[in-house]
């Protein structure tokens, strides 16, 4: 028998019942919920007279629609307030732990899961949110689900699922100086396309991936969904174990060491075969900037907005044309010549402590360009606290950045943090879809260091020339 992949091992360990002509029934170890996609699931549960089977495996936070300005004020938006209140009363009624708006554990769901030690290797993790793929960085099978499936997990702690196919993205060669995890994943999406991972779980492998910190690995896995993949994951190793050790909800002492022994068995076996394998040359990557309206439309900072695809590819030509029109761009314009109005440092992709440090290093002693409005929205209350302990908030504030409370903020613009019509934004988030950050807003996805440099220069610049990455 040939070896098993990480996906095979995770799958086999969680099958409650082999489907036999039906999908397998898979057990879920951790169910994360937030205010936007849970209300209707609780409602369905009530209507059917059902309970939450394992409230102890369910964790709630508020992140999507809450304001990131003064938290002492009531939420001004009626609907957002109703949503947050619904989550509160549901969490209370069903006995679910909630990291509420003023709690020290509050934050973006994909930031607090790992940070508080809920997220551990070898788990199955779901959330009514596509960026659940983030948690795959720990060597767990983590994926987003719809609200009906949220209800299903509430009632049964299981999901009937067909096993996805496996895809090995082998990153070969070293990441050059100044090229970050964000650039790596943008480069991968640029190469395989926004549909490249459809139907698959991507495992990222190779020395450059091994060399990434947990924060960097989370950034990579986070955007797997932008490549169309069901999930992304990275085999657990010492880096993973060191990160988890000592976290509030991680096992302790001998129990932890026993888990480590089990987790050490998870990496794909040497002889394991994948349904698909793609090689990505890390050494050829540069800092990237997206120019269009999906994350596959990327260009290196040294490059330009591309020429339109030929007449023989009408669909792609049409899509590129439409994207350029929306973004207010012409083919051939140098990326460095694009002036920005706003800079957003935040989101579950890039608002962890390491991201803020990288940006602060660029910003230190400099000033935000007078035309630019720039903001930092830490990924969690804890990231915010830790950053303040290091004095990062001072660096950002002195440079002219707005320093906010934790939440999703302008990644999705469901709260008052919204991009104006035709405003151009350098954003560390994950989606540059039309209207994502505000109707008519123009989003360019970049790494934290690149966003920071754009804030200072007032246009995109190659941060490698600033003597830092």
């Amino acid at each position: 028998m040939s070896g098993r992949t990480l996906l095979d091992k995770l799958w086999d360990a969680h099958v409650v019942r082999v489907g036999d002509g039906e999908p397998d029934l898979l057990y879920i170890d951790l169910h994360l919920i937030h205010e936007v996609t849970s209300a209707q699931a609780f409602e369905g549960l009530r209507l059917a007279g059902r309970q939450v089977r394992r409230p102890d495996l369910t964790v709630a936070t508020v992140d999507h629609s809450i304001p990131t300005a003064d938290r002492a004020l009531p939420i001004a938006d009626d609907l957002a307030r109703r949503q947050v209140e619904a989550l509160r009363s549901n969490a209370r009624a069903f006995g679910i732990e909630l990291h509420d708006i003023e709690s020290s554990g509050q934050g973006i769901v994909h930031v607090i899961g790992p940070e508080l030690g809920y997220t551990q290797p070898g788990m199955t993790i779901v959330c009514g949110d596509s960026h659940t793929s983030t948690h795959g960085a720990f060597g767990s099978l983590a994926f987003g689900i719809g609200t009906s499936q949220v209800e299903h997990v509430f009632a049964t702690q299981c999901l009937p699922l067909e096993k996805p196919r496996s895809m090995n993205v082998r990153v070969v060669g070293d990441l050059p100086f100044g090229v970050t995890a964000k650039d790596l994943i943008l480069g991968i999406i640029g190469q395989i396309g926004v549909e490249g991972g459809r139907g698959h779980v991507i495992e990222y492998s190779g020395e450059s991936v091994r060399g990434l910190s947990m924060e960097g690995r989370m950034t990579v896995c986070n955007m797997s969904i932008e490549a169309g993949a069901r999930a992304g994951m990275i085999a657990p190793d010492e880096t993973t174990f060191d990160y988890v050790r000592g976290r509030p909800h991680a096992p302790e002492g001998e129990a932890f060491e026993r888990r480590v022994r089990a987790w050490s068995e998870l990496p794909s076996d040497a002889g394991a075969t994948f349904d698909r394998t793609v090689d990505v040359d890390a050494s050829a990557l540069e800092p990237f900037v997206t120019w269009g309206t999906n994350p596959g439309m990327v260009a290196p900072i040294t490059g330009a907005v591309p020429e339109l695809p030929g007449e023989d590819r009408p669909q792609e030509r049409d899509a590129a044309q439409r994207a350029m029109e929306y973004m207010g761009l012409e083919p051939g314009t140098a990326i460095e010549d694009l002036e920005v109005d706003r800079v957003f440092l935040g989101s579950c992709t890039n608002a962890r402590l390491e991201d803020l440090r990288a940006a602060a290093e660029v910003v230190a002693g400099r000033r935000v360009h007078p035309r630019v409005r720039a903001m930092v929205v830490p990924g969690s209350a804890r990231v915010k606290r830790d950053a303040e302990d290091e004095g990062l908030d001072r660096i950002f504030r002195d440079a002219g950045f707005d320093w906010r409370e934790a939440g999703c903020s302008m990644c999705i613009a469901m709260n008052p943090d919204v991009l104006g019509e035709e405003e151009r934004c350098a954003s560390t988030s994950n989606r540059n879809f039309e209207g994502r950050q505000g109707k008519g807003g123009r989003t360019h996805l970049v790494s934290p260091a690149m966003a920071a440099a754009a804030a200072v220069a007032g246009h995109f610049v190659d941060v490698r020339h600033w003597g830092t990455g």
């Binding site: 209707q40 719809g146 926004v194």
Partner: protein
């Protein structure tokens, strides 16, 4: 969920690839805590001009596609956010089937959950349908879930795949959660096994 055996009606062609769920239902409409009432906001930013009036050019606003029940889309339809609101909005607007060369994974699952038939056809066949829908305003097709076919009154006929379990769920309108709950003993046994494993010898 109500059983779905057939979807019959007018075909509306939306000729764009990689349409994400932020376009299908923009986030400003996600703050409701109900499952219904999203139809008016379907494709909001494309359907309405900046002043809020309907854009007569947009396919769903054109008289010939009024009341359409089948949406024809480009590849990778429904990518992006996992919001089931996208499927709810389509259903609420009256759509019973989405036909595309490919549908994003989570969206496809959400269609099943909402009782929308997700139909994946080769690009060529989708293009052929688009051509018909444009040339013959009011063009109708019949999606037959049991047979796995989509047929037009002009002789168009294509087959699509549905796995047998999903097909049965659509046809019988089964309650997914109820089905899983029938395996309660196996779930409990799994939990006991797992607890023993985690606690160790």
């Amino acid at each position: 969920m109500k059983p779905v055996a057939f979807v019959e009606g007018i075909v509306a062609p939306l000729e764009r690839a990689d349409v994400d769920t932020d376009q299908i239902i923009p986030k400003q409409f996600l703050k409701r805590i109900e499952r219904t009432g999203y139809g008016d906001f379907l494709f909001h930013d494309w359907r309405r001009r900046p002043d809020g009036t309907l854009d007569p050019q947009f396919v769903l606003n054109r008289a010939e596609y009024a009341g359409a029940r089948i949406l024809l889309a480009g590849r990778n339809f429904g990518c992006g956010s996992s919001r089931e609101h996208a499927a709810w909005a389509l259903a609420d607007h009256g759509f019973g089937a989405v036909v595309a060369p490919s549908l994003a994974d989570i969206f496809r699952e959400n269609c099943f959950q909402t009782g929308i038939v997700p139909v994946e056809l080769p690009e060529r066949e989708v293009e052929s349908l688009v051509g018909r829908a444009r040339q013959r305003p009011g063009y109708r097709v019949l999606v037959d879930v049991a047979a796995g076919t989509i047929a037009g009154d002009d002789g168009f006929l294509a087959r699509f795949e549905l796995d047998p379990f999903r097909r049965r769920r659509l046809l019988e309108g089964l309650d997914d959660v109820g089905l899983t709950l029938q395996h309660d003993r196996e779930i409990a046994a799994f939990e006991a096994r797992r607890r023993a494993e985690l606690e160790g010898p």
